[in-house]
Symmetry: C2
């Protein structure tokens, strides 16, 4: 909550806190944003789950992206990390580094987006820091969740014979960035372009499903760096190998209409879907959890002994990643 005196102009730090952030922090632990730190309760038998993600203008969002959507994406990429641990979200700390050229209008839109997602996900602002920068907007959000002791799902539990599952559809994040940059104009119908751009700008963290997979999933993470690479992380930490059947990877209707999309779908990032493994005997329970959460779940492959990730093309042949894409071998 504290910081040096060089702050963005206009309302000043304290004015901005009072106008934009205090209304978002109406929980006792936030202490009205008037103290040096915030308090987070953790009931006996539970553990706190903490994660942080940063977003930089020009790198993670576009300068003319609507500020409310920037705020909501920042919230959601962090909630996705909590969901991937099977944790329920509780609240967050926020840091904004803004250039003086970004006035209170930008912050008003940003705060409106935070308010919208606080209501949607049942979370609250707990505190933060506001500083100025001479560079692009830089945002950091620290999210807090809770999970019963031992109920967290980690990356290291995948075992040979497990099935590999994903939620939702894969590839929309990376294709959506291309859509938002105008690269798909004329390639896809404008409705498809808008759909994909929205998927990039506003991920859907699977907060309803994540906690339901505790005790079912043997390993879990969210797809943020790309499907193949992320399954590779699970396999490396678990000491196993992974197999993905490319033809089983679920695509949105918009992505399915795009030619030559396979490399992007398999290696693009920013999907924020859950990627998890579970033994076949739990498949029915996984599907029941998915129905209860209202989130589609698809089996896309399996875990084997060994190491690395293999991808089978729809015809059953192997694909290999090269420096510039994918090739048959």
């Amino acid at each position: 909550m504290t910081g040096p005196a060089d702050k963005p102009a206009d309302l000043g730090e304290f004015g901005r806190i009072a106008k934009f952030f205090a209304p978002l922090a109406a929980t006792p632990g936030a202490l009205g944003l008037t103290d040096d730190a915030a308090l987070v309760d953790c009931p006996a038998g539970e553990r706190l789950v903490v994660t942080v993600d940063a977003m930089v203008e020009g790198v993670h969002f576009l300068p003319d992206d609507p500020p409310d959507l920037v705020a909501r994406k920042l919230v959601r990429v962090n909630l996705s990390d909590l969901a991937a641990m099977a944790a329920r979200p509780v609240g967050y700390l926020l840091t904004t580094a803004l250039p003086k050229s970004r006035g209170d209008d930008w912050l008003a839109g940003f705060a409106a987006g935070l308010a919208q997602d606080q209501a949607e996900f049942g979370i609250t602002l707990l505190g933060g820091d506001s500083v100025s920068t001479q560079g692009p907007i830089s945002l950091t959000l620290t999210a807090f969740g809770r999970v019963a002791d031992g109920a967290e799902v980690r990356r290291g539990g995948a075992r040979p014979g497990d099935l590999v599952f994903v939620t939702g559809t894969i590839g929309d994040g990376a294709l959506g960035l291309e859509a938002a940059q105008g690269k798909l104009d004329g390639v896809l119908d404008p409705v498809d372009v808008a759909y994909l751009a929205d998927r990039y700008r506003l991920p859907q963290p699977r907060v309803g499903l994540g906690p339901r997979l505790s005790g079912l999933a043997s390993a879990m993470m969210d797809v943020s760096d790309g499907l193949v690479g992320d399954l590779g992380h699970i396999c490396e930490v678990s000491g196993v190998a992974g197999l993905i059947e490319a033809g089983q990877v679920p695509l949105s209707a918009a992505a399915a209409r795009l030619p030559d999309r396979l490399a992007t779908v398999l290696t693009g990032g920013d999907d924020y879907e859950l990627l998890f493994t579970a033994p076949p005997e739990r498949q029915a329970a996984v599907q029941a959890a998915a129905v209860a959460a209202g989130v589609p779940v698809t089996v896309i492959g399996r875990i084997e002994a060994g190491q690395g990730v293999r991808v089978l093309d729809p015809a059953g042949g192997a694909l290999a990643l090269t420096g510039v894409g994918w090739r048959h071998f």
Copy 2:
């Protein structure tokens, strides 16, 4: 722990994590930095205290400041916030946004500073995020501490009749910035300039004293925005008035040798000393706690009924803040 694919070059994100950050995260809750989030235990009867502070190159530190000192300042400004709540530090999450022009050399020095302060303060890295930026270096640290339920000291408890205390010496932070910028060359002896610059670059968070003041201090915060303004925060939240006797404000020998320093001492920031109030009958216990912690504590004023902060000059006359400094009235 997750993030988009556009990362600083050289080792790559995962290489940097493995080389620089994994050695700092040797605690079970960090999960080896391999999961989407970290776990923080909170024993029954305790609460977690959380705070976040950001530092931006060119705003909060100078581009040629040694990276190990930048790291240690980032740690310490956050630990100071925890101390001001009477909490004991536990660990932290770290976010770095680096331009590609800052290579692994900078990060190696930065990580060395983190390691040094982890050892000094008994804390550990729990996780983080590494992203690239096209702007100046932007750093965010989220610190976690623990405090027995109800033992936290907040800002709102000051009562008329309480004494006002500070730790250490005041004004060195702001004067130290001037020293680091070369503005005091020729005004002060080089030894004094170096002393003040070091005080700016490397604050001493009062982590040993803060928790000892639980049950003694009626209100507490750290001096980061300037002594008068910060006491004003305590007074506003507590619904009381504050009186500072300028002649009692403890100065370092270097600061004491500087002419015309009063406005800077009273209103400069970045001291990261503790500012707290306590009833007179607890003064002996406060001094005993200070001796036990090895931190000097000085009474600089008192709390009265009313609102606002008055400053008495050494001769007993009132001082008032103007737009450009202090005047008698």
